[in-house]
């Protein structure tokens, strides 16, 4: 990882940067969710889910296509919750029951480059 840090007011997410901050695609986040323990996913969810609005009020002030490095890192960490919340809010376990492990799925956005 580089020396980029989260914006100061989101330092509470620092413990999750090493896990989620370097992932660059939905499939990488899906694979990460499968390999983490449920307790780790729950801790991330507990820290972030109630404060999503606060994060996006901050991100709203930037051009989505030209995020500064700190905000780009913040958004990558936050996108990890799209997968972690499936484990915590839906399944009560990291993996989809009966699915192969590790399970990689190709996901492609047409004409849009997701973060």
């Amino acid at each position: 990882m580089s020396h980029v840090s989260l914006p100061e007011q989101f330092a509470f997410l620092e413990p999750f940067v090493a896990t989620w901050g370097g992932l660059r695609s939905q499939d990488e986040r899906y694979l990460k969710r499968q390999e983490l323990a449920q307790g780790e996913l729950e801790a991330f969810h507990a820290a972030l889910a109630p404060r999503l609005e606060e994060v996006f009020v901050h991100l709203d002030t930037f051009d989505p296509a030209a995020l500064p490095e700190a905000e780009a890192l913040l958004f990558r960490v936050v996108l990890g919750l799209t997968e972690a919340s499936q484990a915590v809010e839906i399944f009560g376990q990291p993996r989809v029951p009966h699915a192969p492990f590790p399970h990689s799925v190709n996901m492609e956005w047409a004409g849009y480059q997701p973060h």
Binding site: Q26, Y30, H45, A49, P50, L52, E53, F56, L59, D60, P64, F75, V78, L79, L81, T82, E83, S85, Q86, V88, E89, I90, F91, G92, V96, P97, H98, A99, P100, H103, V105, N106, M107, E108, W109, A110, G111, Y112, P114, H115
Partner: protein, 421 residues
């Protein structure tokens, strides 16, 4: 409240008595070979949407594992969309290696034989050494192409037995004017798994499994109290194609902080947009061919186009599923989540990524179960599987599958002039 039991179409209502189906259909390489020849080389197959190729010169390349076909689909300078086998006329090289792009010509990377975007052979280096090659008859090999409602269909027969409208057999009429074009943005999910492709076709053709297999992902959102086995309603047949009406729970209110936040940003493709419905601008909900029995808690019309497509129009877009056999025991699922526009904000990107994860996980549940089903089939202890009265579309698909394998299935609808004779 409407008595929905009267709309629960049973197999007997459609005269479908095939309640047992040989597992051999799902495990035998010989059946797979016959499927390639008798179904996938005869039926019209959906491969994309015309709005993937808006400009002259735009092209896409599609790999079709069932037929081992590599296909170039390109919009010519004249505006016409054409399909070709991706194979150079010289020594057969698959010459277009990009998945999509815009080009004036296609140039083979081996010896630089060059083709127009319309497939015509334009240039042969050292042409004097190929006096036997008539450029006019050595363009890229064409594949029959037609489109309906913006969907591109191909037919791999030398001469198609029926036209695309004949093939669609009335489901095109039912969906006439359906607003697919209002939802141009898509996210595509592709996965391969060890099971027969028909396991997935069947899973999408019955709601009986939803409360069980999808107990955590879908049950609360879509299985209504008055229809606990999610029996499809008002099943309609159009040749081998079909449609059935499915309910959902409008009072579904996920008490989960991340999901609640997502719903507040941008409704998932599958969620009813109640404000839009009340104002009459809810896309497919207003279409007369969809939910013709007017169930008040309408969820989707599950539309099956033979042999391998399921389309679910929803209030905020539509879901498109396609199931490609690779062998008797392996298949590829392609899912496309169509919505009104690409993300405009990071909030919307998060919401769409969340919806993507949720939709994918439901499909993963279906694929995981289909893999377990394949393990059971191949174990060999059971020689047939059984379809209930509440699974009429599985019987119907099997009936038409057998008809295709026997050389039929494609009924040419007489034109009005022919009918009058």
């Amino acid at each position: 409240m409407t008595d929905i039991t009267e709309h629960m179409t049973k197999a007997r209502d459609l005269g479908l008595e095939n309640d047992r189906v040989p597992t051999e259909y799902y495990t035998s390489p010989e059946y797979f070979r016959r499927e390639q020849d008798m179904i996938f080389r005869r039926a019209w197959l959906m491969v994309g949407r015309v709005d993937e190729l808006p400009e002259p010169g735009d092209f896409i390349v599609r790999e079709m594992p069932t037929l081992k076909a590599s296909v170039i689909i390109a919009r010519g300078k004249d505006g016409e969309v054409r399909a070709f086998h991706n194979a150079c006329s010289h020594r057969g090289v698959a010459l277009v290696c990009h998945e999509r792009g815009n080009a004036l010509t296609f140039r083979c990377p081996y010896h630089a034989w060059t083709y127009g975007i319309d497939g015509s052979l334009r240039a042969i280096p050292a042409e004097q050494d190929f006096p036997h090659v008539d450029k006019a008859t050595n363009g890229l090999a064409r594949i029959h192409l037609d489109s309906w409602a913006g969907f591109i269909f191909l037919n791999f027969a030398d001469e198609p037995e029926v036209t695309l409208p004949e093939f669609l057999a009335g489901i095109d009429v039912m969906l006439e004017g359906a607003p697919f074009e209002q939802f141009p943005f898509s996210i595509r999910v592709t996965d391969e798994i060890d099971c027969n492709w028909k396991n997935l076709v069947n899973a999408f053709n019955e709601g009986y499994h939803v409360a069980i297999l999808h107990s955590k992902t879908l049950r609360a959102a879509v299985v209504p109290r008055e229809n606990p086995h999610l029996h499809y309603l008002d099943v309609k047949q159009f040749g081998p194609h079909s449609a059935g009406t499915v309910q959902r729970n409008f009072d579904y209110d996920p008490q989960a902080p991340a999901l609640t936040w997502v719903y507040a940003q941008m409704l998932p493709t599958s969620a009813p947009d109640i404000a839009a419905i009340e104002e009459g601008r809810a896309g497919f909900y207003e279409h007369p061919g969809i939910n013709r029995i007017k169930v008040p808690n309408f969820g989707t019309e599950t539309i099956t186009i033979f042999p391998n497509i399921s389309i679910q129009p929803l209030a905020n877009g539509y879901l498109f599923y396609q199931f490609w056999p690779i062998s008797a025991g392996r298949m590829r699922t392609e899912v496309r989540i169509y919505s009104r526009h690409a993300p405009r904000t990071l909030r919307e990107e998060y919401a769409m990524a969340s919806t993507l994860a949720a939709t994918r996980d439901v499909v993963v549940e279906d694929m995981a179960m289909s893999r377990l089903q394949q393990i059971g089939f191949e174990s060999g202890g059971k020689t047939y599987q059984q379809f209930g009265q509440n699974e009429p579309l599985l019987r119907m698909f099997t009936r038409d599958y057998e008809a295709y394998l026997a050389g039929g299935g494609l009924t040419k609808v007489p034109t009005q002039a022919e009918a009058a004779e």
